[in-house]
Symmetry: C2
Subunit: 129 residues, 2 copies
Amino acid sequence: MTSTPLLEHPFDAFNAHCPSRRLLDAIGDKWTSLVVVALGVHGSLRYTELFKRIDGVSQKMLTQTLRNLERDGLVTRTVTPTVPVGTDYALTPLGDSLLGLLRLLKEWAEEHMGEVDDARAAHDARTGG
Amino acid sequence: MTSTPLLEHPFDAFNAHCPSRRLLDAIGDKWTSLVVVALGVHGSLRYTELFKRIDGVSQKMLTQTLRNLERDGLVTRTVTPTVPVGTDYALTPLGDSLLGLLRLLKEWAEEHMGEVDDARAAHDARTGG
DNA sequence: CGGGATCCCCCGCGATACTG
DNA sequence: CAGTATCGCGGGGGATCCCG
């Protein structure tokens, strides 16, 4: 009772075996952020629409990413039993709570790309030249 | 001039060949966020200190992560030529501009771990049981 | 259309040993 | 102390085929 503040949650991603480490990994996954941001922009998307928008993803990885997101409660999967089948994906409130962060992350990467390129050029000039 | 807003930067991570895609990948890297957040918390850290704080990382991956961050201009590497050698790592202003986001991401993972666990349990009960 | 199943290759990554 | 070099494997992930 000497040093346990009540408001502190018990998770710490610095600890290898903390579940939040796995969650952090999942978020950082190559395709996760793009899928979430895409769904955030368009509200709800068909499988094929996602596939077209996220350039370079394979069907396997898109499906796998969506399954993980669904399992973690970040996206919903709604199947419309028409012929042929239609499937819509959308963010849950939980997924929506993450959207802002991932969108900022994507925007940060795009905004600071120039500075990073400069740093790389300077570093490569120092090292390789 | 019909559809080229001046304020829009030319990068788009949805495009597979856009450099910002690679940057986004780098940020999402398994160890990057933890390294940046650790440096943000402590200001400046020795290699060994980082190694101890980031549980589960191997020497190889820590070094590799630090080299990439240095190359991208996000961290500085300062060698003190004592015997034995001492090396300090710290965030650059650019790295510092990313720190807030990554810290929020880590905190999001820790705060919402419970909800994600619930979603997983519910999903697994539906699927597996 | 929206996937699941399978095959297979590549390389990310850990473990270990060595160096300035 | 702060790395580099090398080896070896496990699985991530693409390609392909098939199915409801």
